[in-house]
Amino acid sequence: MLETVLQNRFAVTAVILFGIGFTNLLLQQNLLKKVVGFNIMDSAVFLLLASLGYIEGGIAPIVGDRGFDPLYINPIPSGLVLTGIVVSVSITAFSLALIQRIYRHYGTIELRELLERAKKEED
């Protein structure tokens, strides 16, 4: 058991991080903290992805004149992580802008209060 944990240490760390982020996203009442939780969650996924491509003793996959002799790491997960990061940045910016507008409108970013206020407004 312990050996498996040590062998897959990056996956295990990623799962723990993902759990932290997920719990934050679900349980925090503060919108800003929810965004932080989401970011932690995404970082966990990127850690998992990046660790998938690593090969022990491998170097960065820039081939150039070095030919195919040295062992390169797998380039695919790196590319996917790049895409994932860009998406995550965009969504973070969008949600922060939304939160800023909500704060200007209501003066609070606690979800509970916001829901109460929204219900009142609707009637």
Partner: protein, 504 residues
């Protein structure tokens, strides 16, 4: 050299993206609106040509995005089902925009209207890509595009409640797409592929060898859960009524009618093309989907019965209709999938029609939304009244309307399975429940209120809201006709869908 018509799916996607980018610099909202309509029309025509080609030759083709063949480069795949859905989706986008045109220019600030059309165009591109994609990671990227654009459509109205609804929608969607991405990561780690055909082979190999059984199960579960959350599968539907009910008419129509379907189509493609239905049944995924679908059918309707705000009622009704689609997928047979596809088409016509008519009816009642204030509004715009009636009757499942045919297909698909009794009972129950909220709504709009009530409501309506709305009437007429076509001449359409599911 491939036939030129095979380039059309790729043209459609790129045209929509290009139109989206260009609308952000068009200074006038009206020009952007016309451009969006044109682009949607062109896409619908191109997709129709593709549909004609693939259906006549009974084939589906893979189109490599670049020079590199699978599994090295991106690819899209097009068969009859994909072409049909692309055609329907782009046509419905145009219809929704036309139907909600007046509300749209009323609700969105003039200097932000072009951004709204950027979102619509890119949403269309996202939906097309979700339909056509043959690569799971492309699926993820376009899921995110759909998420951002859908949230932007909700918040375009820019009132306080809208913003709160948007942020709830956004967080829920993020949860969904993160789960999808984690699932994808696990799947990639045990198979090593991202393109669907090679992925499918690898998944079958893994499933047969039994070596990575746990990660495979978890990956499938996460992917399905992620897509389920995004398409408002029953226990995850809480965000939907606020988001869809509060947005401007055109947004509600597009979101309810199309965006939810985009994710379902991707889910269906994954279930059939990658995991195969047999494996899904073996793993028990279909049963879970079936149960959630059935629950959604009942609880969505119960939620709608309790609403008196007409748009929120329609939004809850979407939860129920999504339940129908999941039920069809959950049956785990080809017939069930065909019924689901047909229902996707029916709902994609009905719900935008209902939302546009509801928007129009509330516009002629001084933007009041509760059913009580809509009394007699059908007489103020007869077209909207008739459209609402047709949509509602189709939702209930009256013969000659589209909804009846899909219920028929669901029922007959459930016969050879083990859950016949449960499924049939739930369909019957859900039909009764549908009637229980649509009939009062219909009575409400067609019964004349007392003169003083009417005067009180009309005091809030301005003359130009009451004037004849040409673009709305055109859209409503076309969607109404579409419902009749689906309800009467359904046989050619189902044969296209059957061919599509076979060739998926």
């Amino acid at each position: 050299m491939r036939p030129f018509v095979e380039n059309f799916p790729f043209f459609c996607i790129f045209l929509a993206i290009l139109a989206g980018v260009l609308s952000a610099v068009i200074p006038k909202g009206r020009i952007a609106y016309q451009m969006t309509l044109c682009v949607s029309g062109i896409i619908a025509v191109l997709s129709a040509l593709v549909l004609d080609y693939v259906f006549r030759n009974d084939l589906s083709f893979t189109y490599t995005m670049g020079r590199f063949i699978a599994p090295y480069g991106n690819a899209i795949k097009c068969g009859p089902l994909q072409a049909l859905l692309a055609m329907a989706f782009s046509a419905v986008v145009a219809m929704s925009l036309m139907g909600g045109r007046r509300d749209l220019f009323h609700d969105v600030l003039p200097e932000k209207q072009r951004f709204y059309f950027t979102m619509v165009n890119l949403l269309e591109a996202g939906l097309l890509s979700l339909v056509y994609t043959n690569d799971v990671f492309t699926g993820y990227v376009f899921i995110e595009i759909s998420t951002i654009t859908a949230c932007a459509l909700v918040m375009a109205k820019d009132t306080g409640t809208n913003l709160i609804a948007t942020i709830r929608y956004l967080f829920m969607s993020l949860l969904g797409s993160s789960l999808f991405l984690v699932g994808l990561t696990f799947l990639n780690s045990i198979t090593g592929y991202l393109l669907m055909p090679s992925l499918s082979e690898a998944v079958q190999k893994v499933a047969a060898s039994g070596e990575y059984q746990v990660p495979l199960t978890v990956a499938v579960g996460l992917i399905m859960a992620g897509l389920g959350i995004k398409s408002a599968m029953f226990p995850f539907h809480l965000w939907l009524p606020d988001a869809h009910g509060g947005a401007t008419t055109a947004s509600s129509a597009i979101l309810s009618g199309l965006v939810l379907k985009g994710y379902i189509v991707l889910m269906m493609t994954l279930m059939i093309r990658v995991f195969t239905l047999d494996l899904m049944v073996e793993m028990g995924v279909t049963n879970v989907i079936l149960i959630f679908g059935l629950l959604g059918m009942v609880f969505g309707s119960l939620g709608a019965i309790r609403e008196y705000h007409v748009k929120r009622m329609l939004a809850y009704s979407s939860v129920a209709q999504i339940g129908y689609i999941f039920m069809g997928l959950g049956l785990g047979t080809t017939a069930g999938v065909v019924a689901s596809c047909f229902h996707i088409l029916v709902h994609a016509c009905c719900k935008p029609l209902l939302f546009c008519c509801a928007g129009r009816l509330s516009a002629v009642s001084g933007h009041h939304r509760s059913l009580k204030n809509l009394r007699g509004s059908a007489y103020r715009d007869v077209g909207a009244g008739i459209g609402f009636t047709v949509g509602a009757l189709s939702m209930i499942g009256i013969p000659l309307f589209g909804g009846f045919v899909s219920k028929l297909y669901f029922a007959s698909a459930s016969l050879p399975t083990n859950q016949t009794a449960l499924t049939l009972f739930t369909i019957a129950l859900s039909t009764v429940l549908n009637a229980l909220y649509y009939v009062p709504a219909l009575l409400a709009i067609w019964l004349k209120p007392s003169a003083e009530d009417e005067a009180a409501v009309l005091a809030d309506a301005t003359p130009d809201q009451l004037s004849f709305d040409r673009s709305f009437t055109t859209a409503a007429t076309i969607l109404t006709l579409a419902i009749f076509v689906l309800g009467i001449f359904y046989h050619p359409i189902t044969s296209v869908i059957e061919a599509g599911v076979r060739l998926i």
